[in-house]
C-alpha cells in the first residue's frame, strides 16, 4: 500500500554551514520562551494562566486561546515565570521562563496507548499540552479535537536549506517513536502516513515503524514539505482535514505515554554560513539562542532565524527559538548597496535563471545574504513559480484570487491544500520580489474567518 513518489519540480538551495552530525556536550539555556504568535489562528491576547514570578513545572499550563479552551499550551521547562512580554495593543508576544538546571515534571501518568480508549488518549494529550504539537491542514493551525482528520502525515525528512537531519536526531529512540505513533493511530480511524526519502541512509527507527503506511519520496526541495506529500498521497479536498507532525513531536508524544511527562526535549541544528562550528544542541522547546552563538560566529552583522532561511522567523541575537522549530540559521545581513549589481556578471550570486553564471557550477555552495537583489514590481514574468511548485495548482492565479479576496476562486484553485511554506520557493525565485508567503497566509486567515 505504501507509495513511491517522484517529485520532479523544485529546487535544492545549497548553502554553507550545514550542521555536523554531532551534538554539543553541555548546553544550558537560562531562559525558554513560549510565543503565542507561533500558534497560527490564536487570538492576539490568549488567556494567561500564570503571572510573573510564578513557579512552574514542565507541563504546567501557561495559556490557551479563548476560542478553544481545551487546548492548553504548557511550560516546556520548570522554573519561574520571568516575564510576560507584550506587543502592540497588549497582545502577548512571549512568556519567558527562567529555567531550572534540573527540570522537574508534572506527572501525567504513563500508559500504553494501545490499552487506552481514544478519548483517554486525547484527554492525556490535551491536559499535558502535548496536543499543541499536532497541527492541521488546511490553515496550518493546531488540530481541532472536535473534528477527526482523514489521515495523519509525518514527514521524516526535511529538504529545505541546511535542514536538520531527523535520522540523526531520532537515532536509537525507536521505542519512544513507536509509542508516539501508537498514540496517534489510536486517535483516528484513517491512516497514519510516515514519509521517508528514498535513500539507504534512512534510520531504522523510521523503516521499522509499525502500523503506519510508509511512503517514499525522491526529488528536490520541497519534496520534504508535508503539504507537498499530502498533495501526492491523499490530497485535501474541501471539507477534508489532515493532521501533521514532525518527528520530534512524535517523540514528545511517545515520552508522554512511556514516562508520563511532557518531555519537550529538542535537538536544534545550528546552521548557516556565519556559524563557526555548526552542529546540534540538545535543549528544550523555546530555548534562547544566545549561548549557542556566543563565540561561535564568524561575523557581527547577522540575521538570526528561528527555522530555515526560506520559512523561518527573524529573531534577535538573544531571542528564543519558535515552538515548532528545530533549526536556527545565521546568515549575513544584506544591507549594502551594490554598484550596478543588476548589470555585473555576478559570479558569486545564486539564481535559477541562467542570466547569472551560476548555472556553470550546479553543485556549488553559496553564502547568501538577506538582500532583496532588486525591488518589488508588478508581475511581469510568467511560468516561474510553476517550475518550483510540485503541485497541480496554478500559483499565480491562486495568489491573484487571494489579492482580490475572491473566496470562491480561492477554494476552486486549491487554497485548502497549501500553506506558506509550500510557496517559499516561489517567493525565492520571484523576479518581481512579491511577498508570496505573506499573501498565502492572508488568504488562509481570510478563508478561515469566512468558514467560521
Amino acid at each position: 500500500m505504501s507509495k513511491r513518489i517522484k517529485i520532479k519540480k523544485g529546487l535544492d538551495i545549497k548553502l554553507f554551514g550545514e550542521a555536523e552530525r554531532a551534538t554539543a556536550n553541555v548546553f544550558y539555556s537560562a531562559t525558554h520562551a513560549v510565543k503565542p504568535p507561533d500558534f497560527m489562528g490564536f487570538a492576539p491576547i490568549p488567556k494567561l494562566l500564570i503571572a510573573e514570578g510564578d513557579e512552574v513545572k514542565a507541563g504546567t499550563p501557561l495559556f490557551y486561546d479563548k476560542k478553544s479552551p481545551e487546548i492548553l499550551v504548557t511550560a516546556p521547562v520548570s522554573g519561574r515565570i520571568k516575564s510576560v512580554k507584550r506587543g502592540a495593543k497588549r497582545s502577548v508576544s512571549e512568556v519567558i521562563i527562567e529555567a531550572d538546571r534540573e527540570i522537574s515534571y508534572i506527572d501525567y501518568g504513563s500508559a500504553n496507548p494501545n490499552e487506552l480508549t481514544r478519548d483517554e488518549v486525547e484527554l492525556k494529550l490535551l491536559k499535558s499540552g502535548v496536543w499543541a504539537f499536532i497541527r492541521q491542514r488546511p490553515y496550518n493551525i493546531i488540530a481541532c479535537p472536535e473534528f477527526r482528520p482523514k489521515a495523519i502525515f509525518i514527514s521524516a525528512f526535511d529538504t529545505s536549506p541546511l535542514a536538520p537531519d531527523y535520522d540523526y536526531i531520532v537515532h536509537g529512540k525507536g521505542d519512544v517513536f513507536q509509542t508516539g505513533l501508537d498514540a496517534l493511530r489510536k486517535l483516528i480511524d484513517g491512516k497514519v502516513h510516515l514519509n521517508i526519502p528514498e535513500s539507504e541512509a534512512v534510520s531504522d527507527v523510521f523503516r521499522n515503524a509499525r502500523d503506519v503506511q510508509i511512503n517514499t519520496f525522491t526529488g528536490p526541495h520541497p519534496a520534504g514539505n508535508v503539504g507537498i506529500q499530502i498533495h501526492h498521497v491523499d490530497p485535501i479536498n474541501k471539507g477534508d482535514i489532515v493532521w501533521y507532525l514532525n518527528p520530534q513531536d512524535v517523540l514528545t508524544i511517545g515520552h508522554l505515554f512511556a514516562h508520563g511527562k511532557y518531555d519537550a526535549t529538542r535537538y536544534i541544528a545550528l546552521t548557516g554560513s556565519e556559524v563557526k562550528s555548526p552542529k546540534y544542541f540538545k535543549t528544550f522547546v523555546g530555548a534562547n539562542i544566545q549561548n549557542m552563538i556566543d563565540n561561535n560566529l564568524l561575523s557581527q552583522n547577522c540575521r538570526y532565524i528561528s527555522g530555515n532561511v526560506l520559512t523561518g522567523r527573524k529573531i534577535e541575537q538573544d531571542g528564543h527559538i519558535g515552538y515548532y522549530d528545530c533549526q536556527v540559521s545565521v546568515i549575513p545581513e544584506g544591507d549594502y548597496y551594490e554598484f550596478m549589481g543588476w548589470a555585473m556578471p555576478g559570479f558569486n550570486k545564486m539564481s535559477v535563471s541562467r542570466s547569472f553564471p551560476a548555472f556553470l557550477f550546479p553543485n556549488r555552495k553559496y553564502k547568501l545574504d538577506t538582500n532583496y537583489h532588486g525591488e518589488e514590481r508588478a508581475y511581469v514574468v510568467s511560468g516561474q513559480y510553476e517550475k518550483v511548485l510540485p503541485m497541480d495548482i496554478l500559483p499565480v492565479f491562486l495568489i491573484k484570487a487571494i489579492l482580490t479576496k475572491n473566496i470562491d476562486k480561492m477554494e476552486q484553485l486549491g487554497i485548502y491544500e497549501v500553506c506558506e511554506e509550500d510557496f517559499a520557493l516561489c517567493e525565492f525565485v520571484c523576479t518581481s520580489k512579491i511577498e508570496v508567503q505573506k499573501i498565502i497566509r492572508e488568504g488562509l486567515d481570510l478563508i478561515r474567518k469566512e468558514m467560521e
Binding site: 538551495i13 532561511v309 544584506g334 550596478m340 535559477v352 551560476a358 514590481r377 497541480d392 508567503q437
Partner: protein, 380 residues
C-alpha cells in the same frame, strides 16, 4: 564607487517627501537604483532571494536584441546602396549609413517612452518600471527605416499612454506596447507603413523595393533565394529581416530562461502548419508559396521571438502558451494569404491573440478547477 554613493546619500533627502525636489522622487529613484542595487533586506517570508530582478531580466532581452539591431543597421545601408546600384560600398559604409538612420529612431523612441514612463511613475508615486527599456528598443526595430521621427514619437506616446499607463503600467497592460506603436502607425499613416516604397531607406530607382511578401501577395515569383531571406538580405522593417540574427536572440532568451520556448515553438509550428494547409488548397500563387517561406519572410520570426513572448500580454499558463502561440502562427499566415489589403499579418495576429490570451487562460484555469472537483468526488 564609495564616492558616488556618498553623493547619492547626500542628495537623497531633497528628493524624498518634504524635500525641495520631491516632485522628482521617481526620477531620482530610477537613477539611484540604476546605479546601485538598493540595500533593502527581506522583512517577511523567505530571508534569501534569487539574484534576479526585473532590471536583469529586461537587460537580457536587450542583449538578445543586439544581433537583430546590428544586422538591421547594416542591412538598412546595404539595401540603400543596392537600390542605387552602388556595388562597391564597403561593409563599414553600409553599416555607418544604417547606423545614422537607425540611431535617431532609437533615441526618439527611448526619449518619448522614458519621459512618459517617468512622468506616469511620478504621478502614481510608483517606481519607474524597467519594461519600458525593452519597449523602447523594440519599437525602432519594427518600423521602416525612413519613418518620420515625429510620427514615431507620436505613435510611441500613444502606445505607452493608451497601451500601458492607463492600465496601471508594466505588468497590467493588455496589449504589447511596441506592437501598438506599429498598429497606430499602420492605421494612421498607411502611406508610410505599406506599399513598395517605404522599406528601403532613401530608395534609388534600381530596384522595385517590394518585399518578398509583397511579391508573393501580388502573385509574382519571389526574387530572392530562401537563404537570402533567412539571412536577411531583403527590404523590410529595421530589425525584422534576418531570421538568423533573430534566432541567435531566441537561443539566448531560451537559454537564460527568460523567453518562453513554448510560445516560440508553437508560433512557428502554427505558421508552418497553416502554410502547409494552404499548399494543399493551392487556389493561387501565394497559397502555393513553400510553407517554410512564411517563417523567414516579413516580421514572422521577429514577432514569434520578441513580441509573442511578451509575458504580460501572452497567456500566463503553460498549457495556454502552447495554444496562444499556435493560434498566432495560424492567424498570421491566414491574414497574409487570405486578406487582399495588406500582405503582412503578424502584427495583427499577435494583437488579436493578446485580446484572447485571458480567455485561453480562463479555460486552462477552468480545467484545473474541474480536475480538483472530480478528485473530490471520486475520493468520497
Amino acid at each position: 564607487m564609495k564616492f558616488l554613493r556618498n553623493i547619492l546619500d547626500k542628495i537623497e533627502p531633497n528628493f524624498k517627501e518634504g524635500g525641495r525636489f520631491s516632485f522628482l522622487e521617481s526620477t531620482y529613484d530610477a537613477f539611484a537604483t540604476f546605479l546601485f542595487v538598493p540595500n533593502h533586506t527581506t522583512k517577511s517570508g523567505a530571508h534569501i532571494r534569487d539574484a534576479i530582478d526585473l532590471k536583469r531580466t529586461m537587460s537580457m532581452v536587450i542583449i538578445a536584441l543586439v544581433p537583430a539591431i546590428l544586422f538591421g543597421m547594416w542591412n538598412v545601408g546595404h539595401q540603400h546602396y543596392l537600390s542605387h546600384q552602388i556595388v562597391d560600398a564597403s561593409f563599414f559604409e553600409k553599416f555607418w549609413y544604417g547606423f545614422l538612420k537607425v540611431l535617431p529612431l532609437i533615441v526618439v523612441s527611448y526619449v518619448t517612452a522614458l519621459s512618459i514612463e517617468f512622468a506616469a511613475a511620478q504621478i502614481r508615486r510608483h517606481q519607474v518600471n524597467e519594461g519600458v527599456l525593452v519597449s523602447g528598443m523594440l519599437i525602432p526595430l519594427i518600423v521602416p527605416p525612413d519613418i518620420p521621427l515625429w510620427m514615431l514619437s507620436l505613435a510611441t506616446a500613444f502606445a505607452v499612454i493608451i497601451g500601458k499607463e492607463v492600465f496601471g503600467g508594466t505588468g497590467m497592460n493588455v496589449f504589447n506596447p511596441a506592437l501598438l506603436t506599429r498598429a497606430f502607425l499602420f492605421f494612421a499613416y498607411p502611406q508610410h507603413m505599406s506599399g513598395d516604397n517605404v522599406w528601403i531607406s532613401n530608395q534609388g530607382d534600381a530596384v522595385t523595393g517590394a518585399t518578398p511578401l509583397a511579391e508573393a501577395a501580388a502573385g509574382q515569383d519571389i526574387s530572392l533565394s530562401s537563404w537570402d531571406m533567412f539571412l536577411g538580405f531583403m527590404p523590410g522593417s529595421v530589425g525584422e529581416t534576418s531570421t538568423l540574427a533573430i534566432l541567435l536572440g531566441a537561443f539566448f532568451l531560451i537559454f537564460t530562461g527568460i523567453g518562453s520556448l513554448r510560445v516560440m515553438l508553437s508560433v512557428f509550428a502554427g505558421g508552418y502548419l497553416m502554410g502547409l494547409l494552404f499548399n494543399l488548397w493551392g487556389a493561387n500563387e501565394f497559397m502555393l508559396m513553400p510553407a517554410h517561406y512564411h517563417l523567414i519572410v516579413g516580421g514572422f520570426a521577429f514577432g514569434a521571438v520578441f513580441m509573442a513572448t511578451d509575458p504580460v500580454s501572452a497567456s500566463q499558463t503553460n498549457t495556454g502558451k502552447y495554444i496562444y502561440g499556435f493560434l498566432i502562427g495560424i492567424i498570421a499566415v491566414l491574414i497574409r494569404v487570405i486578406n487582399p489589403a495588406y500582405p503582412e499579418g503578424m502584427m495583427l495576429a499577435i494583437l488579436f491573440m493578446n485580446t484572447f490570451a485571458p480567455l485561453i487562460d480562463h479555460y486552462v484555469v477552468g480545467a484545473n478547477i474541474k480536475r480538483r472537483m472530480k478528485r473530490a468526488l471520486t475520493q468520497k
